[in-house]
Amino acid sequence: MGDMTMGGGESGFFTTKLESLLGWARKYSLFQYPFATACCGMEFFAAAGPKYDIARFGAEAPRFSPRQSDVLWVVGTISQRQAPALKRIYEQMLEPKWVISFGTCASCGGFYDNYATLPGIDKIIPVDVYIPGCPPRPEAVLDGLMLLMDKIGRGDKTPAVLKNTALPEGVPEKLEQLYQIRMKGKAPVSPEE
């Protein structure tokens, strides 16, 4: 529960700062506005579906009005022609509001370095969390959501990039073993061939 500290001992109350309490409440009830424009949208649907189940984080309710939502998910390529619409939607959202940039195109334009594409939505609106990937897997999406929840809980407003995460202890060794078993008896492939 962030930096809420138990102050009452066995007497059954605790003390906290108001911001911490609000952050704790907000991060578990994020209403989202999906602004899905491109192929990343498919991966967003996968993350929102039952298998990956974004409802575990209290962020499953899409609001199709920016006035009712807390998080703007910008999912996919934004063209220059679309940029005014995106900016207007962002401005319609009520404070407090957060923006997640989903995928490479929304974050920096991706490989669309041309006349038609906005090179990253941070050129027109502030972004809280960047999720890289083309498209990112649902695991990465949930990771990004957890990163945002972490930020909200701490009241941190700096932009954040989702970084690669380490595999759990022992997993790289296990993968190496499986690889050796699979390659057993096969001739090694030299890079020259």
């Binding site: 940029a83 005014p84 900016k87 334009g109 972490d150 990039v161 380490a166």
Partner: protein, 191 residues
């Protein structure tokens, strides 16, 4: 197979058919721009051509060939759903006067094709019912698929925010916020 189409065009338009080629079923005729609409109408209405299906209309830009042949090569591909043959007719336009008769009232599908050609290359189609940009916005200056348009020149509609940006994001890799997990060692990652 559909050499027939080229022969029909040559018989109908004579020396207005500047050159023809036929390669593995791709029949191409280069026409003088004065017979452009007449040729499209002929291909649609002649019972032995019967090209009732519009496939594509677009432009190729040859900026080096403006002096001898004309910079823009406009092409129209039509197909016959009954005779199962296909033909491409082309014409060349000079940069000084990129104007051509519209075939939007011959083939309805050419309406948006001609709008795209206007949007991307600035070719003007006389007689088109609604010649506006179709993909880019009205405020856009120039024609982005012309080869002399800078490939990455943007014309933003929304003013960019204050600050220094480049393509790699507004911050360095180790900036941003701390997140309580160990970074990946790229040498040990086998996934």
């Amino acid at each position: 197979m559909s050499k027939l189409l080229l022969d029909r065009l040559k018989a109908q338009f004579g020396d207005k058919v500047l050159e023809t080629s036929s390669f593995r079923g791709d029949e191409v005729a280069l026409l003088d721009k004065s017979v452009w609409k007449a040729a499209a109408t002929f291909l649609r209405d002649d019972p032995r051509c019967a090209c009732d299906y519009f496939v594509d209309l677009s432009v190729v830009d040859f900026p080096d060939e403006d002096e001898e042949k004309g910079r823009f090569s406009v092409y129209l591909i039509v197909y016959s759903t009954t005779k199962k043959h296909r033909v491409r007719i082309k014409t060349r336009l000079f940069e000084a006067a990129p104007e051509l008769d519209s075939v939007a009232d011959v083939y309805v599908g050419a309406n948006w094709g001609e709008r795209e050609a206007f949007d991307m290359f600035g070719v003007k189609f006389a007689g088109h019912p609604d010649l506006r940009r179709i993909l880019m916005y009205e405020e856009f200056v120039g024609y982005p698929l012309r080869k002399d348009y800078p490939a990455n020149k943007t014309q933003p509609l929304v003013e960019y925010r204050e600050g220094t940006f480049d393509k790699l994001g507004p911050f360095l890799p180790d900036e941003g916020m701390p997140f309580d997990r160990a970074p990946v060692d790229p040498k040990s990652s086998s996934h």
